[in-house]
Subunit: 461 residues, 2 copies
């Protein structure tokens, strides 16, 4: 939805691009500085698309130093890498030093090895060790999302001491609103919010304020586990621990918003039969061949199922030529079967994804789909019987064949649609793959067999 | 994904249910108190499903008072209403008094009128006015999400004064991490974070620390606008203002996580052709007739498109009976057309939803789909020609008809799939409705026409 801010951004974008084309860089900079870091980053991305990297780097270089790091952290990784490789080493080191740790790791992961070496060469041995540990966490793991810049407190600190300690490191911490209490062995003992510290008396002890019943996640847990916990508990940050329960980092809610969006996109794409290695890539920025590559394989695999459907039809050619009007109703039966199955599949896939449905609910799902599909099937059966018998005048037997097939197809399609995602989950395949294209290809096959079986039975051919 | 905590919850749930069946309420309570409020709420919901409301109310009543309100705020609205109507007035008033304002409004919206009257009767005139204002914000508006319990500061306060003021109201505020500076006319002047207050010197002035370039949203803006801003800027809270720029409330990030989940569910359901008035209702908790009602209308409407497809086929009956093997390839063409169209439609729908694609990109989308579909279409065209000519031995002309139709169908389906969501957006219809069921019903029609046109052309019949 377009907001006033979007319109203001669009207007300024045009003005800035005009100024850049006329090489009026200082004026362009002034215009840019009307906005905050997030908006400036967005404007730079648009300018990159329209005018190319060179103009962006000129503009980026004349931003105030501190703001430039902030802006950098909001750019897409592709643009970050472009800028890093387009500026001087000195400028690069300034950015990398000032960037929040988790953002720095994200950039390092994408930079060419020689640039990474250059950056690591300047770090202390201790820093290098930590950076390498973070670079090695598997993609999409909690470890790859977390930052080590959290606030540590000791349990025997008073509130006054804790607040003093927070003040000294506040600027370098990802968040100061949740603080972590560790023992000498770095084991996480408790969590205390800044809120309770601010409210408490100055001489109270941290250990009396901290919650020991905190929720943490493992460093190798999938990022989805992290986002589930955030949704469930409404956290601002979650601690990440290693196998020995030692605190290694924290994940903050702003990073989780990005993860949720990424996971949602992934689910949508899987459910549409689009395979991609990078769900954050934008549609228009993705090349034609990459689009082909992400779509062709599924189309091809699903086409194979139609080879089977086709050969079943071929087996019934004689029957079809003797009652050719049966062909007229094939698309309707297949289409309605596919749509019915997709509805059930989508609801069950989402239920599994959000945890509302578990594997142990299989029988309840089946029972529900059976009842729902019988009612829907009967309704569509009656409507079609009336239409075919009275309007199409194709005779009682054809009307009966089509309408009874409709009932059977809807019931079978909905039960398949409900069960297949659960079967996928049982086999540890992603249930999202069982959505529309897959289900409708399968139900097309089932619809064809059902239809011809009914026709043989009722028409006696 | 199941975590250790889930397993611990499952084990305790069984133990608690056994204890409840044996009427060992005190022991059940002890077991329950091992968990935090979110988990207890979840356990109560499960107990409600298994053992019914009565046991839940007994258990709920013997929880410690303060915890009971916390637990209440995490229950589903249905369960909240059940509990409110099952306890005494005194207990009810305690809960309503202690509940955060936004949660109280959510419960009030669902309670029967006589219970609402009973609650409002105890409120002061000022409170009643505010409650009524909140009850009147349209569903899914920013106003319906916000809470008036935020921290207000004056611009001429010192940091010490501000912190003292925060301390006095901290317990009743939704968040203390973002504070709001208003003038005498309640107009929002700036936003200041607790972080900057904690770091600043005691005698600094609030006005020197506050950001005046804050982002706010309007009270009647859709909740989607709010979630967009949260994703974009990584906020912890956002101020909500009325038409005169007066601060009326704030929305916090934990509530936005719920909104994002709700909006995602809504999109998934729309894209699967399921209509529902309440996307937060869980699959298993939804009654059979409600399921029927949410699915039957779309199935029926889409079925109508197949009446057209069917009548086109009827017009070509003679041609089909003379070359009956053409029928064999109909499902493959229709299915592949539907799948191709769905892929394009889903990508464009998501692009429109996330703002990556705008209406002005229509020609770029069309151009991209044209190129992508031509490559995919050519690949599938060649494969099918080879298969039909060499394996099925149905002759050169049939092979040519099917394979050329395949190319045409893929190209047309992908262009329709790419364009229809954009047309919907232009007409202010939700693009999500243009997903799989709709697109595949339409492409089935297009595939049929294309196929028969090719057949007439190539086979000369």
């Amino acid at each position: 939805m377009e907001t006033e801010r979007d319109r203001a951004l669009d207007e300024s974008l045009e003005l800035i691009m005009d100024l850049l084309s006329e090489k009026k860089y200082v004026q362009a900079r002034e215009e840019l500085l009307e906005f905050n870091a997030v908006d400036i980053a967005e404007l730079l991305e648009e300018i990159l698309d329209e005018l190319g990297l060179e103009k962006v780097i000129v503009l980026y270089r004349i931003l105030p130093k501190d703001l430039s790091v902030d802006v950098f952290s909001y750019l897409s990784v592709d643009t970050q890498v472009d800028i890093i490789t387009g500026i001087t080493d000195k400028e690069m080191h300034f950015i990398m030093d000032e960037l929040p740790f988790d953002d720095m790791i994200d950039v390092l992961e994408e930079l060419p090895a020689n640039v990474v070496d250059k950056i690591l060469a300047r770090a202390t041995k201790e820093e290098r060790k930590q950076i390498n540990a973070f670079l090695n966490y598997p993609e999409n793991s909690a470890g790859s999302l977390m930052t080590p810049d959290y606030i540590s407190l000791r349990r025997d600190m008073t509130v006054a001491e804790a607040l003093a300690s927070i003040r000294t490191v506040a600027l370098d911490s990802e968040t100061i609103y949740t603080c972590y209490v560790k023992d000498a062995g770095r084991k996480l003992l408790g969590v205390v919010s800044l809120r309770s510290l601010v409210v408490a008396k100055e001489d109270q002890l941290v250990e009396d304020l901290m919650t020991e019943d905190f929720v943490s996640i493992g460093v190798t847990d999938d990022q989805e586990v992290a986002s589930e916990q955030f949704k469930r508990y409404g956290f601002l940050a979650i601690p990440v621990v290693d196998k020995e329960d030692r605190l290694v980092g924290i994940i903050t809610v702003d990073d989780i918003l990005d993860v949720i969006e990424e996971e949602t996109e992934e689910d949508f794409q899987k459910m549409a039969g689009v395979m991609t290695d990078d769900s954050t890539r934008e549609y228009l920025d993705t090349g034609v061949f990459r689009h082909v590559w992400s779509r062709l394989p599924w189309l091809f695999v699903l086409m194979l199922s139609y080879v089977v459907t086709g050969s079943i039809i071929a087996g019934f050619q004689d029957m079809l030529s003797s009652v050719i009007c049966l062909v007229t109703y094939m698309p309707m039966l297949m289409g309605t079967g596919g749509n019915s199955g997709s509805q059930a599949a989508t609801l069950v896939i989402r239920g599994l994804a959000t945890g509302d449905i578990e594997l142990s609910d299989a029988l309840r799902v089946l029972w529900k789909e059976l009842r729902v599909s019988t009612i829907i099937g009967l309704a569509l059966c009656l409507i079609n019987f009336a239409r075919i018998y009275f309007l199409d005048s194709n005779g009682l037997l054809v009307a009966l064949t089509v309408s009874v097939s409709m009932l059977a197809v809807v019931v079978v399609a909905k039960c398949i649609g409900g069960m297949l995602p659960m079967l996928a989950k049982l086999l540890k395949i992603d249930p999202a793959l069982m959505a529309s294209p897959f289900i409708s290809s399968l139900t097309d096959l089932v619809s064809t067999v059902t239809y011809f079986a009914m026709a043989s039975l009722i028409l006696g051919i």
